[in-house]
């Protein structure tokens, strides 16, 4: 296996893992959001979000 192929397989593996992690974090993650509205994180309900913000409860 060539050196280039090894590096490529590593990069592709990292990319797949990153996309999977992003999808999981978006849909099911519990990490506090910043309230900026990008939708990449799951702001938990009824808890203060990141520093400087308060998440409103959602209907």
């Amino acid at each position: 296996m060539s050196g280039q192929l090894v590096i490529v397989l590593l990069i592709v593996g990292v990319a797949v893992a990153y996309l999977g992690w992003t999808a999981w974090r978006t849909m099911a993650g519990k990490r506090k959001g910043c309230g900026s509205g990008c939708g990449k994180c799951a702001t938990p309900v009824e808890q203060p979000a990141a520093k400087g913000r308060i998440a409103l409860p959602q209907i």
Binding site: A15, G35, G39, L56
Partner: protein
């Protein structure tokens, strides 16, 4: 410096400059829009004065503390110090509009009953003065018993005095001269309070009586049982018999108090002079002229997107091509070089190229919001919204969705009617967001030359209109079927027009650009790597020979023939030209075979029967499928699949040129170029291709059902729309030719 910071809660009506004051005090960059509903989340900032730290909490703009929805009740609870995550406020800062004190003091009179020191910031004194309105702050302070400070939040005037007043109010004596509600009401409130063992503040007991079917009543009934509702209804009946019927008694008492206060403290002309805003509004809110102006503004925005962005787009294109060529020159052929050049540089560069257009769109949106025009647009659309069974409040989230559906969906929190809110959430993704711009621009450029910017803008305008028309229609269907229920009212204040702040617009544009680049550098980057991989592997023929080697040999032969042709005498050129063409065709054949046999190619060809009725080949189909997590991915994917860098040298837009060349040799796409491009655009206009939006819908509805429903209906609608577009377009082209 004192160890305990002072907590200041900022309250005020929408459009009082509340967010501007928050930003001016705290130095934060909260998004300030000159129309109601921008502050959908409470935000917190800090500032220091006289070595004392202040925590400033910005509450959503409201006209009253009569909570109609749970989130409004949270704001009331926060003011009462009943939220576990926040300390009780030491001071409440009530901001009022000097030109409209009669109405804005209503909220202040309610805040005065909370038992917390109140400081009144009289904002927009300059606007009031221009209208001949003069506020005597000393008399206002004397009449209300509150500290009153005149300010101009947008210019930062009076802020030092305001900070000093907040500090003094927090540490000092608090004796507001609040309006006195009728004695029977106070007595009934005390009875209610005794019934719940004094577990709630008296203010809430009064609100329970005053706010019929409000969020306070629902909260009380939920906590103390249905029997309490009966007791409250009986109390309201007794109040009506005593001549203090709710809810009218509150308005009567407060406005009588406000009239007395303003009579002493406010001087204004007998006849309100017609302001420039009034004159403009006669046109901009007119149902015919206003609508025409709205469409003209939209058209101007799209025209600018096509014309002003081109030079910068070409520059980005040239930059990415140059980087690609430099890498090709520095590295030996192999999968890594292919990944860098054909995957990352080509794919990500193809998306980043649309940055100038995104910036122009956001600059327009920011200017329209900040100058006060968006509120007029919402007012104009209220008629349409109410006919579709939604409130005019729905239009603000829909307008926000033109930039991005995620904040649009979040902005629906201002809609208190659950069915209205859900209907708005479900149709908000139909509005064309900024992520659709690259698809529209690319597809439009396939059938309209760059010189016809006017026609290009017209097509873009039509694409946006698809969302503007489809969203209310779908909302109407939802409100007649799944979400049947009564309509709700919409009250909105039109703010005075003002010159947009360069800083506000600049920050909004910068944030939008930064978000776009961040997305290109993360999700889109990773997507491009994966797409490159599935179209690169397997990279060997059936007998195990590496395609890369075969292509390199054929390319070498082609380049040799080209070089020989250039060096040869004129009479020897023809056979060498044929040899060069033969070798070029072999390169193309090998690459096409490689792509067809790749994982992506095999899957695409297997799915081709699904795409064929839409006029798409497997490459368009797979690029569309790859775009489901994020729409922008299609441009990068098409660039990889159509090998844009193989386009003839000197072409301004290599992807456009590549697709053009390919479609010219295709019987379907060559003949029906316009219907195919329109079909792709209609699909993207109607389809739910955004994982972030689905996630935010799940969070806002607290259910998987609604995002799945939204995804299913939008995908079905998109397929149907694209099918009808292509088939009808095909018939028209057939008839014309």
């Amino acid at each position: 410096m004192s160890s305990r910071p002072l907590t200041v809660a900022l309250v005020g009506n929408p459009n009082t400059g509340k967010s501007t004051l928050f930003n001016a005090l705290s130095g934060l960059r909260q998004h300030v829009g000159n129309y109601p509903g921008v502050t959908v989340e409470m935000k917190k900032g800090q500032f220091t004065h006289a070595e004392r730290r202040f925590d400033l909490i910005d509450l959503p703009g409201t006209y009253s503390l009569a909570a109609r929805s749970p989130d409004e009740l949270v704001a009331v609870d926060l003011l009462l110090g009943r939220r576990p995550e926040e300390p009780p406020p030491d001071v409440i800062l009530s901001i009022v509009d000097a030109s409209n004190l009669d109405r804005h003091l209503y909220l202040t009179t309610q805040v005065m009953e909370l038992g917390v020191p109140v400081v009144v910031a009289v904002n927009m004194v300059d606007v009031a003065a221009a209208q001949g309105v003069v506020v005597d702050v000393a008399k206002l302070a004397a009449e209300t018993g509150l500290t009153v400070v005149p300010i101009q939040a947008n210019k930062g005037t009076g802020l030092t005095e305001l900070k000093a007043a907040l500090l003094k109010a927090a540490d000092g004596h608090h004796a507001p001269k609040a309006p006195v509600l009728p004695q029977p009401l106070e007595a009934e409130a005390k009875t209610i309070l005794a019934g719940v063992n004094g577990q709630v503040p008296e203010f809430l007991a009064r609100r329970l009586l005053l706010d019929i079917n409000g969020a306070t009543e629902n909260w009380f009934v939920g906590k103390y049982g249905e029997a309490l509702r009966t007791r409250v209804q009986e109390a309201r009946k007794r109040l009506a018999d005593a001549g203090a019927a709710v809810p009218a008694v509150e308005a009567k008492t407060r406005y009588a108090y406000i009239r007395k206060v303003t009579a002493a403290a406010v001087t204004k002309p007998a006849v309100r002079p017609k302001s420039g805003s009034d004159k403009l509004d006669r046109i901009l809110t007119h149902k015919v002229w206003g609508t025409l102006v709205f469409f003209a503004v939209m058209f101007l925005m799209f025209w600018s997107i096509f014309t002003a962005a081109t030079p910068l787009m070409n520059l980005i294109d040239a930059g990415s091509t140059g980087i690609g060529k430099a890498i090709e020159g520095a590295m030996s052929p192999g999968p890594l070089r292919s990944l860098l050049v054909d995957g990352i540089i080509t794919g990500v560069g193809g998306v980043v190229k649309f940055l100038p257009q995104i910036l122009i769109l956001f600059a327009f949106i920011a200017v329209l919001e900040d100058c006060g025009y968006m509120a007029r647009a919402a007012f104009l659309m209220d008629r349409l919204m109410s006919r579709c069974g939604m409130s005019g409040k729905s239009f603000i989230p829909l307008l926000s969705s033109v930039a991005c559906a995620v904040p649009g969906v979040m902005a629906t929190r201002v809609i208190e009617n659950h069915r209205d809110r859900l209907a708005t959430i479900l149709v908000a993704p139909l509005m064309s967001c900024s992520a659709r711009i690259p698809v529209y621009v690319l597809m439009i450029s396939l059938f309209l030359p760059a010189e016809s910017a006017f026609a290009q803008a017209a097509v873009m305008f039509c694409m946006y209109m698809i969302g503007f028309i489809t969203a209310p229609v779908v909302a109407w269907i939802l409100r007649k079927t799944l979400l049947r229920g009564p309509r709700s009212l919409f009250v909105m204040e039109l703010p005075a027009y003002k010159r947009p702040s360069l800083r506000t617009v600049g920050l909004r544009v910068f944030d939008a650009g930064w978000q776009f680049l961040k997305r290109a550098g993360t999700v889109i980057f990773a997507s491009m790597v994966v797409i490159w991989a599935v179209q690169y592997f397997p990279n060997t023929t059936a007998d195990g020979t590496a395609y890369e080697g075969l292509v390199a040999t054929a390319e070498e032969a082609r380049d040799d023939a080209k070089k020989k042709k250039e060096d040869a005498a004129e009479e020897e050129k023809e056979p060498l030209e044929q040899e060069e063409a033969k070798n070029a065709a072999e390169v193309k054949r090998l690459k096409a075979e490689w792509q067809r046999d790749s994982f992506l190619g095999r899957t695409g060809r297997a799915l081709e029967p699904v795409f064929a009725p839409l006029g798409w080949d497997w490459r368009i189909g797979m690029a569309t499928l790859a775009s489901f997590p994020a729409r922008e991915v299609i441009v990068g994917t098409l660039r990889i699949l159509y090998e844009a860098d193989e386009a003839e040298e000197g072409q301004a837009d290599p992807l456009r040129a590549s697709i053009h060349n390919d479609w010219d040799n295709d019987p379907v796409r060559g003949k029906y170029r316009v219907p195919v491009a329109l079909s792709v655009m209609v699909f993207f206009a109607l389809c739910m291709q955004c994982a972030s939006t689905l996630a935010v819908i799940r969070r806002e509805t607290k259910s998987w059902l609604w995002p799945l429903f939204c995804f299913a209906y939008m995908t079905g609608l998109a397929y149907l729309g694209a099918l009808v577009t292509f088939q009808v377009g095909k018939l028209i082209v057939g008839a014309v030719s």
